[in-house]
Symmetry: C2
Subunit: 306 residues, 2 copies
């Protein structure tokens, strides 16, 4: 039994994992406002399960040194720089503790048990507040030199485009992050009739629902963001040449209203489309992917260590 | 002794390679105008050396099935689709013949003997008529699912930008391919005094020379293309997280007038620049890289086969 944790800015998702299956699921608040509070909370969570498990795997946003279990930097936690999360927990609980980037954990989960199973070259990205990415290349999970690989959201798609939170212009995330999807819808309903006008607050989920019901403006929003995503994915496909691209995150469940414009754009933009057999599909494991991937990472690394 | 060939649209560069050194260099016309003529010419070249060599490695532009030695498609040769170059030559000469994409060959050469030596995560791109790319990721040369990986030139940097020869808009190559560098200079000298006005025909080499001599317009051209290249490289660095980026091709010899704006742009655009130690440097082996890489590929694959 391995404990898999997916540490987000708001919640810690926990799962007791046995042979690639989550036996029980839990959810705890992260207490991310303060460095020590967050570490203590993670300790408390591990402590609850310590008697039943042989190792701990943790998925966490940021730059992770996956070999040493050190969180170099995490956008989710105030003041987290060079937090030795793995070594601290391993000492306290006397068990192997492995840390991995959260999107890498999702990729590993989908690769071992979900949508990317059996593929040697796969790319996955997550759509949410931000846009993350991870890749399997030539049969290996891609970490890169500093554990920074996969930052898909800050691919420039228009160097003259609007300013992104990261300081640059025209990053993909600046067009398809949740807030920007909502902003786009708000702009479009100003001058057009739309069911979206009836809502006090909009969300990608509401826009997707109304798009599926046939609302013209909501469909235009998804057409537009699907095109932007397709532009970003095309650069990835030209570069990495994956067999499969997996879309993860809440919006990935939007179905054809999202995938049709993405696929149409990619077919049009990639080189040698006729020579490829590229699949673009939604992730399979939902929230479980991160927990399963973190646990798989712990299992793999613990075995290697022995 | 291994024969390394780098087959371009105009010339075949050949080298007799011994233990990673080119013992003798040769150059032959490619005869690319017709499918059979080109194959026959390659056969003639191999035949010249057949008595002295134990294997042949061939670098060739296009989509290459490196396992089977088949050129699926090559932009250099009229009508080359599914040409079984490796098997044909292996049969004729009764020696192992291996084929690899030309930019992958350059990367392999620079990785084994040149600027990328010792790096597990490296990216290389070539600047010329077109813009090619190749990567070493997690200690492996990146081929991708169809042998298509590394197409850096068709990364979208402005989806509203000018139309590229490939049909899309705002591809990097549309800004920094040789012809577009010359076009940019031509536009700029229309309204400004410049030493470039004295030349009947411009080339990137002439523009680089005048830039180094201090011509303001020529410097502006390199500033601009350095910025464009930096934008493309930043997306690559965010995605692959290499330790080193290598610039190959004639313009790579331009020095600081090119590398300064590239490095400045990359420093500004990449995420977590402070956590990285990224090098951006010119290639070391020049024209030899492709020949050495092709030979290395043949050596490696032949050994594996035994």
């Amino acid at each position: 039994m391995i404990l898999g944790l997916d540490i987000g800015g708001t919640n810690i998702k926990a799962g007791v994992v046995n042979a690639g299956k989550i036996v029980r699921r839990y959810r705890f608040p992260t207490r991310a406002h303060q460095r020590q509070a967050a570490v203590e909370q993670i300790k408390r969570v591990v402590d609850r399960f310590a008697g039943r498990i042989s190792a701990v795997g943790i998925g966490c946003a940021g730059i992770i040194d996956s070999e040493k279990g050190i969180v170099r930097y995490s956008p989710n936690f105030a003041g987290w720089e060079n937090v030795e999360l793995g070594p601290i927990l391993a000492r306290d609980f006397n068990k192997p503790v492995r840390v991995i980037n959260d999107v890498n954990a999702i990729m590993l989960g989908e690769w071992k048990y979900g949508a990317a199973r059996g593929y040697d070259n796969a790319f996955l990205f997550t759509l949410g507040t931000g846009v993350g990415g991870a890749a399997v290349v030539e049969g290996k999970l891609l970490f890169g030199a500093c554990g920074f690989a996969g930052e898909f959201g800050h691919t420039t798609i228009d160097f003259k485009g609007p300013r992104c939170a990261c300081g640059n212009r025209g990053c993909l995330e600046r067009y398809v992050g949740s807030r920007h999807i909502v902003d786009l819808a708000r702009r479009l309903i100003r001058n057009e009739r739309s069911a979206l006008r009836a809502y006090g607050a909009l969300s990608p989920r509401i826009i997707a629902r109304e798009a599926r019901r046939g609302d013209r403006v909501a469909r235009a929003v998804f057409d537009r963001i699907g095109t932007y995503i397709g532009i970003g994915v095309s650069s990835i496909v030209n570069l990495l040449d994956p067999e499969i691209v997996i879309v993860s995150g809440g919006i990935a469940r939007a179905g054809a209203i999202l995938f049709d414009p993405v696929r149409r754009t990619v077919d049009q933009l990639i080189l040698g489309a006729t020579f490829r057999d590229l699949k673009i599909i939604p992730a399979k494991l939902g929230d479980d992917a991160g927990v399963l991937g973190a646990a798989a990472w712990a299992a793999e690394k613990s075995v290697r260590k022995r």
